[in-house]
Amino acid sequence: MELFFIYAAIVLTVIIIIPFYRVVKGPTVFDRLLGAGAIGTKTLVLILLLGFLFGRLEMFIDIALAYAVLNFISTLIIAKYFSTDKAKND
């Protein structure tokens, strides 16, 4: 079963690379933000799988929860900033 988790973690690491193309190349700021959010949500799952692999799940779940909250709040705050008129004039 550990081998299965290792394979799942490797596949997820490969999947994380795909939206990174959009972060580098995206035409607008929002495309980059969307790619960064997608990478963040995939990293959340990767942290959980690493917790199973290391056998210290109770610590890694707290880390994953904090990571999810940070990802959500950063997306909300940046979206709030870009919907104001001040951002449009810059």
């Binding site: 799952v45 990802n71 997306t75």
Partner: protein, 107 residues
Amino acid sequence: MTEISYTLTIIFVVLGTFFMFIGSVGVVRLPDFFTRSHATSKSDTLGIMLIVAGLMFFEGFSLNSLKLLIVFIFVALANPVGAHALARAAFKFGVKPWFKKKSEDKT
């Protein structure tokens, strides 16, 4: 009993990884910001929920399983809200939605 939970774990994690892959491909392939947001928000949320549910089957009834349930509920609530806020900000900022060009089809 353990074989059943292991099988459920494998099925759920593989399905979730598949949905995450579909969402990532959608982020790269689709033509404009709104379609990309549509692709990644829904399929990523479903993928995370499936993988966390699979890990809950592996863990069984314990405190860690309850924490995983909290992660499950938080992701199910927060991820679509974040995607909606970003799409709304983009629409207010003036990002143009993509339309199929009819003039190019005729020629």
